[in-house]
């Protein structure tokens, strides 16, 4: 019996899969579901067996957005006290790679969840959108921030103001996603990509993510100082010795993640 109500999880050879599991509601995100996603991902982040996390949804769509019924009657004080978006902050602190495998509708909160991933692989035909504007609100879980940092202010405003559907091709052209694959092969391709990253030395993967994330927020100078420290830090790892020795000895390295 799973400890989760709205998601399913599994681990196969170093790759953990977290699946949104409300397919009849097109995986609309309610608060408990977000908590479960974050809890599952944090657990895998600390699990030594897991090197990469794949986030996806059951059914036709990744997620059509937040559960509107749940918040229609909310007021600002309740929202402040509830502090629901703190869960989303925790997602930003995850150290291991998160690969989003998305399809169908990726709308609103679902789009924000996708933007919280490090790599996005989309099934052909996937549509992204921030439709919040059409119901008198706006994204609240990082949508305006993450999208703008990805695609720039000009395009972000266009998409956020119109709420229009963004085809996968446009998302690819603007750097929102990494690639488009045949819908039938979405999980297979995502797992293949995850497997490739899972074979890399985990500490390198980890500190690369850490450094790249700093590039988004820091000045170039600060970012370079930060990068340098991470670079030095890797020289304390067994995998650095193994990687460089294997290179010199012309053999395949055997990484331990230590």
């Amino acid at each position: 019996m799973s400890r989760f109500e709205f998601i399913e999880t599994s681990v196969t050879s170093g790759t953990a899969v977290v699946e949104l599991n409300r397919p009849r509601q097109l995986n609309a995100l309610n608060r408990k579901m977000v908590s479960e996603i974050v809890e599952a991902i944090e657990t895998f982040d600390r699990d030594e067996e897991v090197r990469v996390i794949v986030l996806t949804g059951k059914g036709h769509s990744f997620s059509a957005g937040a559960d509107i019924d749940e918040m229609a009657e909310d007021d600002p004080i309740r929202l402040e006290l509830l502090n629901q978006f703190a869960d989303w902050d925790r997602l930003s602190l995850v150290k291991k790679p998160i690969i989003g495998a998305v399809k169908g509708f990726v709308f609103g909160g679902g789009f924000e969840l996708a933007l919280s991933c490090d790599i996005l692989i989309a099934a052909a035909g996937t549509e992204f959108s921030f439709p919040e504007v059409s119901i008198g609100v706006m994204p609240g879980a990082g949508g305006t921030q993450r999208l703008t940092k990805l695609v720039g202010r000009t395009k972000a405003l266009e998409w956020l103001w119109t709420g229009e559907r963004i085809p996968a091709e446009a998302a690819l052209a603007h750097g929102v996603i990494n690639k488009i694959v045949a819908p039938e092969l979405l999980m297979e391709e995502a797992m293949k990509f995850a497997g490739r990253i899972a074979k890399q030395p985990p500490l390198s993967v980890r500190l690369i993510k850490d450094s790249v994330n700093k590039a988004v927020d820091y000045s170039l100078y600060e970012g370079m100082q930060y990068e340098r420290k991470n670079f030095y830090l890797l020289f304390a790892s067994q995998d650095q010795k193994e990687g460089m020795n294997a290179f010199v000895e012309k053999r395949k390295p055997n990484y331990k993640g230590k």
Binding site: V181, A182, E184, L185
Partner: protein, 257 residues
């Protein structure tokens, strides 16, 4: 369910009859929508493995019903709202679509025939890019498809001069896959549709995907697209059935799955 078209599914074939014969099956906004909805229904129906679009009466489709055109009409928005969604639905469909061109296909009716995968053409049929005669340009994807089918020079000639193309000329130009005597038309179309309906439907859809990709992707990206298509086809029951039947020296029975 439909008023301007007739839609029947029989023996794996979805038949879509444009059904305004007294108006030579001219398009109205409702007909645009009904064609779109019917193609969508056929796409989603597992029983359907081939779609035929044809016209009731003596015309295939005479294009936009000009009695619906007035001065306040925004021609661009009509395309965005009505014709565009219709041809997009046809192009998205992963099942084979036959235009059974029984009579004249004029204007957007020509475009409709062009958007399909096959054009089976009755000797009584004709094509005319009539837009120029009312001071308009070919629409509903017309030139997108026409340039691919007959090349830019011929496409320009057909569109600028707007001359009628007979069924025989259409066959010479490669617009028609088959030219069929009028009296045999219905039987030949039925036979062709029946043949497609027992083929490996999923593989046909994947071929359509690759054909579309070929015109937009770089060669390298195309090869990756192709690899994914073949992987997908390789997972189908019809692939296994095809290989088994070959090894057992019998005729394959494809399920479309």
């Amino acid at each position: 369910m439909f008023e301007t078209i007739r839609y029947d599914v029989k023996d794996g074939v979805a038949w879509l009859f444009l059904n305004r014969p007294d108006k030579l099956n001219a398009f109205t906004a409702q007909m645009n929508r009904e064609i779109k909805d019917a193609v969508k229904a056929a796409s989603q129906n597992d029983e359907v493995r081939c779609i035929v679009i044809t016209g009731e009466g003596r015309a295939f489709c005479s294009g936009q019903d000009l009695s619906e055109v007035d001065e306040s009409m925004d021609h661009g928005d009509v395309l965005r709202k009505h014709y565009g969604p219709m041809v997009k639905q046809i192009r998205q469909c992963e099942k084979p679509i036959i235009a059974a061109v029984n009579g004249v296909a004029a204007g957007a009716g020509f475009s409709l025939a062009l958007a399909c995968d096959f054009r089976l053409v009755s000797e009584k049929a004709s094509f005319i890019n009539a837009f120029i005669h009312v001071g308009l340009i070919p629409d509903s994807g017309n030139l997108y498809f026409l340039t691919q089918l007959v090349g830019p020079a011929k496409a320009a000639e057909l569109s600028i001069l707007g001359e009628k193309v007979s069924a025989a000329q259409a066959a010479e130009l490669g617009l028609a896959n088959q030219l069929i005597p009028a009296e045999a038309f219905e039987d030949e179309v039925s036979a062709f549709a029946a043949r497609l309906a027992v083929m490996p439907t999923k593989a046909i859809g994947l071929i359509k995907r690759s054909l579309k990709a070929a015109s937009v992707l770089s060669f390298e990206d195309y090869l990756e697209q192709e690899a994914q298509g073949q992987r997908t086809a390789g997972l189908t029951a019809d692939h296994r059935e095809g290989v088994e039947a070959f090894l057992q020296k019998r005729k394959p029975v494809f399920s479309g799955k």
